[in-house]
Symmetry: D2
Subunit: 383 residues, 4 copies
């Protein structure tokens, strides 16, 4: 696999420190050294934008007031950004996309693409003629076993697809939360700002993309029942969509944000005439494969039976949940807190909790007591 020698310089439009998704983009982008944040219009609030820049190591002179300015100035610098990440609200995607593309800068954009279909098609025309890389962050297709499922289907492991079922239930909009002071939910349930589609746009698009990605089948037509389970909600919070796919296959999508009990339970089951595959985001390192006349198989990430499609994006050993890095990182954060305190001659805060030298010695005592006991026919040995 070939990369740029240096991390790719990138900028962000939106995603400032007060929101959540900007941090996810940045942490993920920089995680394996292939990207380096260098510029941004992080917020429409200049103060927050500047603070974000400072916190994230972006030089203040590359914290811009508008995306147009940013596109222009960065495209003129010899060390300008090569790609921009756009994480503004949906109705504010179109402007920056066109601006950066026109300056020859690649674009990575949050989903959904826009609020209207017309705008989407307009952007498509701009992008397709540009020769620029354009990526939508439908992030759930980044799981190794989702790729495994796609590859298995493509090579015929389940035969010809008959039905594809994708569910994406969440529960956090089960109450009229937009009437509270949580701003995010006012925005998300306001058609003027988030578009006519509620759940269908917010997560239905993820489910739809997943179905398309994994099966590779085109969708011919659909029949949809959108509902607002919460009274007076202005957009849908539950969507059932029946699909007719090519090759006489059918599809069924259920997306909900008012399904109590679910946090983020994206899952799919794909049925073919020779087998089926099941995957769930709640346990993303497992993939079930059922085939006619074969035992039921559980495929785990990184196991010997996985194909190159998942292995090439598997970053940690089999048996380690993909959050292993975060767990490890948490220990490092504790160390950072302790070091800060010590370097500043402060007490280490009481909640900071990490294994120290005593734990290191204790581990050794345990090992040697165990060896001694075992050599004495399991005699009890004091510690």
């Amino acid at each position: 696999m070939t990369y740029h020698k240096e991390p790719i310089r990138f900028g962000m439009v939106g995603g400032g420190k007060t929101g959540g998704i900007g941090k996810v983009h940045r942490t993920s982008a920089e995680m394996f050294d292939r990207f380096k944040l260098c510029a941004g219009v992080f917020s429409s609030n200049p103060e927050i934008s500047l603070e974000s820049a400072l916190e994230w190591g972006v030089s203040p002179d590359r914290n811009y007031l508008s995306y147009d300015e940013m596109a222009l100035r960065e495209s003129e610098r010899p060390d300008g950004i090569r790609v921009v990440v756009i994480t503004t609200p949906n109705h504010l995607h179109s402007g920056p996309i066109q601006s950066f593309i026109s300056k020859g800068i690649h674009v990575i954009c949050d989903k959904p693409l826009t609020n209207t279909l017309e705008e989407a098609r307009k952007i498509q025309t701009v992008v397709q003629g540009s020769g620029r890389v354009f990526m939508m962050t439908y992030c759930y297709t980044g799981y190794p076993l989702v790729r495994e499922a796609k590859a298995r289907i493509a090579r015929g492991d389940i035969g010809s697809i008959k039905m594809a079922k994708v569910e994406y239930p969440q529960g956090h909009l089960a109450t009229p939360i937009e009437n509270t002071d949580q701003k995010q939910f006012q925005w998300r349930t306001d058609p003027a700002r988030s578009g006519e589609g509620g759940t269908i746009a917010d997560i239905g698009t993820h489910a739809y993309h997943m179905l398309r990605f994994v099966t590779g089948l085109k969708v011919k037509s659909l029949s949809a029942e959108l509902k607002s389970f919460v009274k007076n909600r202005k957009v849908d919070d539950n969507a059932i969509v029946n699909l007719r796919l090519e090759n006489d296959a059918i599809g069924l999508i259920w997306a909900s944000q008012a399904a109590i009990g679910h946090e983020n339970s994206l899952n799919f089951k794909i049925y073919g005439d020779n087998g089926s595959l099941e995957w769930s985001h709640t346990d993303p390192s497992k993939l079930w494969l059922f085939q006619l006349d074969s035992p039921k198989q559980l495929i785990t990430r990184g196991s010997a039976e996985t194909t190159i499609a998942s292995r090439r994006i598997t970053n940690i050993p089999a048996g380690h949940p993909e959050g292993y890095h975060e767990a490890f990182a948490n220990l490092y954060l504790e160390a950072a807190r302790a070091i800060y305190a010590v370097d500043n001659k402060l007490d280490i805060p009481s909640e900071v909790d990490y294994p120290g030298i005593e734990e290191g010695v204790e581990g050794m005592e345990f090992v040697f007591a165990s060896i001694a006991s075992s050599r004495q026919n399991c005699a009890w040995v004091n510690l």
Copy 2:
């Protein structure tokens, strides 16, 4: 929570690009911006060390030939490292620890601490008098719900502990793999290099630390049965250890690296006189709580019922497996590959797979077709 304003500069001893654990340390350390790698002796092979330095953005003049030189020179620089991470083989921990501590540099060290108990106690003396932060990377205590379990036990949710059971089975040493050409396993099963303890030291120490961490109970004595399931293996590959804890509680540890079917199945069950708690590394975002006279509870990471102990180290939303960042990062890696190809006027490799503009438009088409269908009583709408 207070941190240094700037990321903490750190160095590494060992952990070069040819191994696996160095990358995990570095990725995790830098993940949330609190650390920045600046120096290292990454390998005993100078060439690999230099390559690692270059790949990881370390200036060549801070790639050293020995840890003593590194400790000296870094301690003299105004921008020298504040902390060193030691990931050398176990018998090579002691030297660097003492060297860096003597120069006032904090230390983070892989487990187990050393190969002999004498050496461990000697290091302990050095560290305890130094005022330096010293952390062992018993990484499994970094999972939010392990912290949750500890906090729940401390506040009495399960009453007085009666029994603590920790299992840590793996299967990758179930065959005489040390007779193949996989170097790592020759090293790990050679008492001269990895110490007298095999599995008991390698992962038994993790299990032991987990028991101590979660219960808070001291261990009074133990009875151990160490075995080599694989014939002629020079160290143990399976360990059963019975423990007697304070307060008349008992403990049971089973660690194995010859248990076929397990990848990395660390788990614990803690029983008190009022309840019990269960956690497993194979599904780390779930914690079971059973209490007398109460329904069985499943506590998920980030849910409303979690305590500050887990929330303060929870970095991503409830319902997103902790590998969400890695999945996201994988998409960014695909983008990096595509951008590299385009910037160098190459074809994008066929295996590079990411959602592009078509997928963005398709998502919009899906949303608006769904809205149209729903408004027409679920009529079928073509796509």
Copy 3:
């Protein structure tokens, strides 16, 4: 709970020894002593009918040639049957129902009721005027936790229902099995014999009844997509049905007999505005309850938190899967085989496997060796 003092005498129409479902009816009916099989027309083949009667302890003079004769003669006997169980193919339900009802005999009937709606309504008129008990064996509502779910919903545990989802996937019709010599499948996929509905009638009716039973909500209208995944199959083998229920709730049923990987995976998830409930036939002793602002609860059959609705039909202790009786029965079957052999001076067949006196003594040796070891500080004790 009041019962007849004696088991209720019952007869069967259909269900002879060559089929499967007759045995299930009889075993279940007699399991807890409330019913006793006394008469029958077990098969249209007189020989099989007689053999079935003999095997099942029915007096040959109460093995009849026709259901009309059986209804007449049994109604005249002082010890005649009080109830008849009808397990003939669907198109042969109507005749016997009317015949037995007209003689004052209660009726228990397999589902679906008939092959045509007209016939169903005709039977309804007959039954409703008769004062006779009439039961459809929608057997899945007999699980204690299905009753628990119904009771919880009725008392408001999940608030007002918004959506009810019932799935019933099976996989055994995923191939054109009707073209093999397995007679059962020819019959089941022939509209002339099994009716126009395939899967929709065979198991869709179970799913529909489950939805109605658990929610108590009436169905106002439906939109259905029936498909034959197997080419040239004469009836549907996959059904997606969207439902509109009273109170503005919606329903979604998916039933399939061509979904590879599923054996008999009936399950439901019911979402209200205050919580949700999940149950699956693959693990029928567990019921999940999710409520706003409460921890996730797992309700197990027989546990302290269950209500009278499930407890009144719970026959075995908590923690014992409901198949405990069958496992116990299997040991008894082994004993029967051994006793047969011994009584007939034959060798006990080698595959007969049950714990004997040695296992009894061994158990005692184990207990006393354990006690001795424990008293000697866990010394090793030989067996």
Copy 4:
């Protein structure tokens, strides 16, 4: 498989209607028609014994006052019992066993065999010379997939066994329940009546038998730690037993009745040098098979890949939990209640709940509405 033509007549000593285990024995024995209860001394209380006889269809003249009388008289009748089931408290097994054996009657006996090892060996001598069938009801070996595991191990699926782990945790003795008025628990925790062993005898013997049954390996020695988690309890309620088996294998048994959160969680994991097998009583229709260089397999009861060892004792179709009969039986119980009410001109009690004619017709309406909708391109059809 050959059986007696008629069900085998059997008697019971103990097991009267006021206890639980007698009913389980009887229901299981008669479940598949191979046994018929004909005689008994059901209780030391003559009144309860008679009531039990009447309730269970045993002629009053075959309800005896003592087991000696029963053994004598039944052995003299031409239609006397062929086998006796003994379910008295442990210290009362020995007398009846000897009495019935001496009259040529086969014996089925609850576990553990006796209270003392001396008595056990005495019985062994008596039984071994008698030519009578003698079965201990270690009931958990009656599950089909336990047999499957045994057969798989015997044929070498996991290679040579290295370690066998059996756990049997329960939680119902986690409080000093013997101080309440629940008589059963006073008896069970009184060494004078239940023997010196508490949990080790009550369920430890099940775990031990399971280990022996599945592995086929002999136990050479053991080291045990018995504890009473509940203060002042007179017998153990928690047992950890380390075992050394033949062929240099090891075993680990943990049995507890004070492990809160567990109802009846018997499980085993057997590790060989070529694979491993896992089974749990909480989900008894699943068996995991892990083999070197093969995908992880889930074997379900009745599936195509099962062997004759489990198929010969599989009584219901794949995908139906083994409690299918009980669920079915529950519907029959509801019918019995309704029939009782109708036959006695009483109102059917409001809690009696079974599907009637309306549900039968509704099912048909559902089927035909679905067919109509599907034929009209999924138009909405009213019900």
